[in-house]
Structures are given as structure tokens and as C-alpha cells.
Amino acid sequence: MKTIINQSKLSDLVNKLANQLNEAHPSFNEVVFLGIQQGGVILANDIIASLKKIRNTDKINYGQLDITFYRDDIRKEILAPDTMNIPFDIENKQVILIDDVLFTGRTIKAALDALLDYGRPAKVELCVLIDRKEHRQFPIQADYIGEIVQTNKSDKVKLINGEVVLVTA
């Protein structure tokens, strides 16, 4: 297990992403943020905290999305679901999905499927901390990227305890 992004670097990347989101969206009135369980929620908590400071407001629509029931490999292993919490309407809103690591793209595909069961957003954007670009299996790209990281396909990259670690198989 190797740390590829330490705590201080992580905090820089979180601020960078928050600043990008801040510049891209002059108003958050029609914007909702959704962290994808579980790593994405940890990241999203930090990004939302940073955005609240930048904007000096508490009024940001923020929820958590769980993709357990939408996984395309569901029959391989039945997993216990995490909490789904979308306490606002997403109809015609700009939805910003936040995840820790973008890898094959399958999680985001599942997240889009889940999202559309709540309504029809005007636009969906994707914000990720780590992009493992060369391993994509679906035509999905992020709009906001913390850092692109070179990895082997069998590696695992995770956000835990305030650091990003790489586990080699």
C-alpha cells in the first residue's frame, strides 16, 4: 500500500476543485451536488465545506447517492446498500456528481441510472479527485479533475483516512 496523495496535497486538490466549481457556476440556485457513496461522499463533504467558505453561505443543495441497486455486476456479489439521501428536487437542475476515483466509468453509468429515477436534470457534470484515464470501459469523462494518475488495471486506488492510497494486487 502506497500513499500517492498525502493530506496536504489532498487539501490543495479539494480547494482547486472547489475553486473550479465556483468559477464555473456563478449561481448555485439551480445547482445540486451529489456525492457518490462511499469515497465520493468523503470527498464531497470536503468540497462542499470549501465551497461554503468561498461563497460565505450555507445554502448549497448537497445529497448522497448510493449505486448499490444499480451495479451492473450485482449478481457477482450482493452488497448491503448505503444511504441514499436526495432531499431536494433534481428536475431541471444542474447536477454535479462527485466521486473520489474515476476508473472504468461503470460506477458513473450506474449513478446516472439511479439519478434519472429521481427526475430529469437539465445537465449532469462530473467532478472527481483522481482520474485513472487509461482504464475507461465506458465513454464517460469528468468535467473537473483533481489529478490524473497512471496505474495498472489490477491496482486499487482509494480515498481513506484523508489520503489517497494505491494498493498493488
Partner: protein, 309 residues
């Protein structure tokens, strides 16, 4: 985390962890049922047969709805008007259905142990929807879910189960489940409807006095007097039963606390429950029905993994 079993035959075979997993998963399915699209694609590739050898309205609808909300394909079998009426054995019927690529079996049967027998002979996952006077595990689970939702916890809760304990699979599943989760249970009814050694066998308190049981409990789960099983003359008349064990407004108003009233349905109004109790705000009878769908979705979902190879 996974269930320790590949079938749901009864609460008796479940661990405390299994029960907790089913209840927490059901909470998430309850959220699914509040959405604009009340459906998830989780069981898109799964086919389920509902085999009902005994009458059922609520349970059958509840399972069917749970299956549809999970995107499973379903077929329904009712014993009347089927090959079972022509004398086909249970095993033959099920094997014929399974040969049409069915993955899971939900079964209600009047013979206690019928799903246990099936589980030994067929590869599909089996969910017991009520077998004779043995168990009705999904009812036990949805009752527990409803108690937890209403009162916050099962641990230490005092639950009185009132009525025909002798013939009730609902009572048996409730007792197993509540005891495993740390609740206290008192069964209450006429001596002829309470098994003689139940206190020793299942670790419950026994009371033959309704007022005493109601004063003790936080939750009263009132069972249906099973009119179809009353050919044995276990009490003299419905009116007499109602006078001694029927719950009415006056009884509840004289308690020094507000207890929760439950009933698995169908209610015999004016026999075990008066209307002004069944329809009051103390009653969570309709919430039980609503929660039934979420709980059955959780069971179907958690058992759907193992045999689809």
C-alpha cells in the same frame, strides 16, 4: 456482508446479524418506494415464481409488488385450478416450473415444513411465505421493522402477542425474531389457544389476562382469530372471546401509557380489535402493510445472488 443462508425458511434459522442486515436493507428499499420512479433494476435478470397453495391477499400482493419494484420477472401459481388439483406432487410441480428457468420460489403452503422439504430437493432459492402453523418469516420481519421504525429500537421492547398463539405462524416468527433481537415477549390469550410449554420452549411470558398484558407492554401485536380453524371448539363463542380478549377503546384509555397496536390482517372487526382501536392513531396496521413491500424487497434482493450462476 451477506446472509448466512441461501433460503428464507424461517426466523429460527437466521442469526441476529442476518436480521439486522435485512432490516437495514429494507430501510433503503423504503426510500426507493418514496421516489418518483419506485423501482430499481437489481433483479432484472431474475425470474420468480409465487406458489400459493393457500389463500392470501396481502402477502401475495406484497410479494408481487416487491418483485416488480425490483424489476424481476414473475409468474403466479395458485393451487386451485392448477395441476396440483389434478394430483401432481409438490416436487413435480416445482421441478416443472424450474425447468422453465425460474430462479427463486416464494411459497405459501398449508403443510408446516413444505418449504424446508423443497429446499432439500431443488436448486432455487426458497422464501417461505407462510407454512402451516410453523412460520411466516417475512411477517415477523416486517413487524419488527415496523416496531423499530415506530419506537426506535427492538432491544428491551416489551411486546405482547395476543390471540390464537397455538395456530399462529405469525406468532412463532415474531417470537423467534423478537427474542433474538433482545426484546421481551408476553403471549396472551385463552389457555386453550396457548401451547402448554411455550414459556420453557421459547422463553416468553404467558398471561391469560388481557388487561395485565396490556399494562405490561409497549407494543400489542393482536392476532386474527382464525375462524377457519375453529372447528375444534377452543372457546365457546366469538362473543365470549371478544369480551375477554377483544381490545377496545376503553381498555386502552384506562392504561397509564399509549401503547402501539399492530395486527397482521385481515382484521375481524369487533372480535379481536374494535374499529375505534384499529383505525386510531395508536395503530400502525397500515404502516405494517406498507413496510411489508420494503422488507420483502430486502429479502428477495439479499437472496438473489447465490444461485444465478
Amino acid at each position: 456482508m451477506q446472509l448466512s443462508t441461501r433460503h428464507l425458511l424461517g426466523i429460527k434459522n437466521l442469526t441476529k446479524e442476518d436480521i439486522s442486515l435485512i432490516l437495514s436493507t429494507a430501510e433503503q428499499f423504503k426510500e426507493v418506494l418514496q421516489r418518483p420512479v419506485k423501482k430499481v433494476p437489481s433483479l432484472r435478470d431474475v425470474t420468480i415464481v409465487n406458489l400459493f397453495y393457500e389463500n392470501s391477499t396481502r402477502t401475495k400482493f406484497s410479494f408481487e409488488l416487491a418483485e416488480k419494484r425490483l424489476s424481476a420477472d414473475t409468474i403466479n401459481f395458485a393451487a386451485t385450478g392448477s395441476s396440483a388439483a389434478k394430483g401432481e406432487t409438490l416436487l413435480d410441480t416445482v421441478n416443472n416450473i424450474l425447468s422453465m428457468k425460474v430462479d427463486m420460489v416464494v411459497m405459501r403452503h398449508s403443510a408446516s415444513g413444505a418449504p424446508h422439504f423443497l429446499a432439500q430437493h431443488i436448486p432455487a432459492a426458497i422464501i417461505n411465505a407462510g407454512d402451516g402453523i410453523n412460520e411466516h418469516p417475512t411477517q415477523g420481519l416486517l413487524d419488527a421493522f415496523s416496531i423499530k421504525e415506530k419506537t426506535g429500537t427492538l432491544e428491551g421492547r416489551k411486546v405482547a402477542i395476543i390471540g390464537d398463539i397455538m395456530h399462529s405462524r405469525v406468532a412463532q416468527s415474531n417470537i423467534y425474531l423478537l427474542k433474538k433481537m433482545g426484546a421481551e415477549v408476553t403471549v396472551c390469550g385463552p389457555p386453550t389457544l396457548i401451547p402448554k410449554y411455550i414459556a420453557e420452549a421459547l422463553g416468553v411470558n404467558v398471561s391469560y389476562n388481557l388487561k395485565e398484558a396490556l399494562e405490561w407492554c409497549d407494543v400489542a401485536n393482536v392476532l386474527r382469530i382464525q375462524l377457519e380453524r375453529q372447528n375444534q371448539v377452543l372457546f365457546s363463542s366469538l362473543r365470549e372471546y371478544s369480551l375477554a380478549f377483544g381490545i377496545n377503546r376503553k381498555l386502552l384509555d384506562n392504561l397509564n401509557k399509549e401503547i402501539v397496536i399492530m395486527h397482521p390482517g385481515p382484521i375481524n372487526r369487533g372480535v379481536e380489535l374494535d374499529s375505534d382501536v384499529a383505525d386510531s392513531k395508536q395503530s400502525i396496521i397500515l404502516q405494517q402493510v406498507e413496510n411489508g413491500v420494503a422488507v420483502r424487497m430486502a429479502v428477495l434482493y439479499l437472496l438473489s445472488g447465490r444461485n444465478a450462476s
